[in-house]
Amino acid sequence: MSEVAEVGSRRFASPGRKGLPSWVWATGRTIISVAVTLFGLAALTFFIGRLLPLDPVAAVLGDNATQEAYDAMYRQLGLDQPLWVQFARYVWGILHLDFGTALTTGKPVMEDIARVFPATIELASVAIIIGTGFGIPMGVLAAMYRDTWIDQLSRVVGLIGYSAPNFWLGLMGLVLFYATLGWVAGPGRIDFTYEFDLEPVTGFLLIDSAMAGNWEMFGNAFSHIILPASILAFGAFAYISRMTRSFMIEQLSQEYVVTARVKGLSWSRTVWGHAFRNIAVQVVTVVALSYAFLLEGAVLTETVFAWPGFGRYLTNALLAGDMNAVVGCTLLVGVIFVTLNLLCDLLYRVFDPRTR
């Protein structure tokens, strides 16, 4: 650990080549790395899409089109051009933030993504708050009370979270909490009654309704989101709590914990004030990864809850052979992962002085 820290510290402290500050080089390297990753992702998705035996022309023209109309649309979509020309045009479009038009909706892909992505971010964010809010304390408690019933409970709950399919959990949740108990609102983001009362500002209904001071609508949106978010959070909770437990057990066996206890520090201060700080970096990574997976879109949960989100949009595009939408969405997923990785790197530096 000390060697790594030393290398890291040297790397960030030393001046870069040609006298430029090291952070410039580091930033440059990161940008190039991100650009190469995204370009590779775009190329891979684009060429796989073109190789698939799907027919985008038929998707536009329908089943009755004559060959003449078919050929004309084939040319109009640029499919008569060599693949590399098509790809070059596509990349040129991307550089101008033009991902083309989605065949399934007839709208620009960027417009579609801007419409569906807030719904997914909102759902994923509430889910990760719930998953983290319960997962971390559960993991820490399971480590503190290792092999007691609390630990066993966390294992059982975690196992269910890992193994139960979200689709089934979603339907069962709806049957129980919506249809039987009436505790939550049904599928969709909001009741039809409210749907037309609010002009979207951010696209996040909870935020927009709160900003508008419409608390009745906020309550309705909350009652719609809480069940799907909790179902999604269950998986994240399982992952976060198991990983936190494992990190914490390792810390609790360290000598500094015994020393702190011998010096009279309370059990909770030892755990939360010292041991937890040492696992914070790892926990952040786990939470970020969980969030990234949630942002990709939980297709089945979105389907069961009629949630107009990103995952369902991507799946529909895939099934319809709408490659413009597929490539656009794939790039977005790539950007999400890269961004969250970068954020993790930044947080490492905040939490771990050795990396500064």
């Binding site: 799907l54 009755n64 399934t104 007839g106 709208k107 007691t148 609390i150 249809a179 599928p187 107009p308």
Partner: protein, 546 residues
Amino acid sequence: MAKQDQSTETRAPRAARYLLSSVAAVAAVCAAATTAGAATPKNALVMAWNIDAISTFDPAQVGEVVTNEILQNTCDTLVDFDPADERRVVPLFAERWDVSPDRKEITFHLRKGAKFPSGNPVTAEDVLWSLRRVVKLNFGNAATLTEYGFTKDTVDERIVAPDANTVVFKLDKAYPTTLILQAIAANRVAAVMDMKTIMANEQNGDLGNKYLGTRTACVGPYKLTRWNAGESIVLEANEGYWGKAPALKRVLIRHVAEAGTQRLLLGQGDVDVARDLTPEDVKDLEASKDVSILKVLRPQLFFWNFNVADGPFSKEKVRLAMRYLIDYDGLGKTIMTYLGVPRASFAQLGAVGALDEKEGQPFKLDLEKAKQLLTEAGYPNGFEASLIFGTLPHSAPIAQSVQQNASKIGVKLSLERMANAQLFSKVRGREFQSAMLAWQTGVPDAHGNASRLVFNPDNRAEAKQTQYPSWRSSYQDLALNAKIDEALLEADTAKRDALYAEIQKDVMAKGPMAFMFQMYNIAGVRKDLKDWSWTGFKTYYARTSK
């Protein structure tokens, strides 16, 4: 460690209390924020429906059932299907029509004084422009007009407006008038569009195709006021409509892809109608005191399609043998109970010229007969072939049933399921041996399917008549082609029916498609919704009330 263990024991209950109280607190917040499920608004029709397929509202391009239904309720056509009898046509935007003695000219007299929601008056010029643009844009729907001689070169002369309230169709042949009214004048291609508004938004000579991608511009009992792709649709009553105002002021359609979710919403009263219920849901809901199950036969056929270019399926007797491998009765009573009825003829039940229920379904599972036919065809030991199908939920169980029966007479069918886009691509390119497919016609007349599923004008590969499923099957029978032409122009109804009966029997014996089922439109409807009205060709929102 002993001390730690001891403290663990004492702290465990405290930790448990912490966890339980956290959960309770969150549950309390949830419960406090929850609003009870409310009944649907009194003045609105609320539906749960899978509306993923919508990609445009341009009548020239629309092909999906759901968009067609939206257009039917927002855009008046020249005439309408009679809700009481889909084979009859009744006036809609054309208040009456005259037919010349030689049947080659139909004159439509339009309603006067109607206005589009934009305020523009509706004129014959709008009707002309609407029909002509369909042909000129040349999307799939252009075939609806080109099939009857309205081509790019002729449409300007064959559809004319002698004055502001009259439109004349000049036909190249003496087609049956009712057929033309059903096929064109009642079809979405005859939706009267607001030419001025659309042309003001034309882009690069697209005749408003892009503009109509997300909106409508026409006149009907409702107007489309909002479409959030993959989310919801809102129709509102058109205040200035020339006809009777709809009883319900709004139609709200929420996109719900999952059938189980639709069922829950319907059961809770959060929607009035659920459109995509599974047979299991339908079976359960039939006992409900709050929900009615309504069904109507639609003009869609589900069939096993053979590519007759080469191999075993090129032989008529093999194709006939395959029909005896289909367990019409068994499937009809199990998988297809709430989905459709057995039908072996290409002409759907209810269509003009269609064989009746018994004559149109003469087959039953008969392995011996199938084996005998295979032997006569030169395949006493059977053969191997592939069978591809898409994502229709009933495709897989039907394919498996056929596979199982086929294996008993030595025919090994390898099944492959794929995305619909991939399936259509393969079939369109003749790259298949056999496939499970569905096809829906737009007219309640035997000619609708005869002209596409049997008639094939040019079977050469390079002809690429991809709009004809008969071409996709590599099937051409010149004698049948001639008979279909003859039936089309036969003026005597009895003779016409007799010709279609012959064609249907011929096709059942040797055609490239083993028709299996005619499908239902099925919906779960809350009992407080009154007068839900539909036929296989149209759903009438404006007639519904609460």
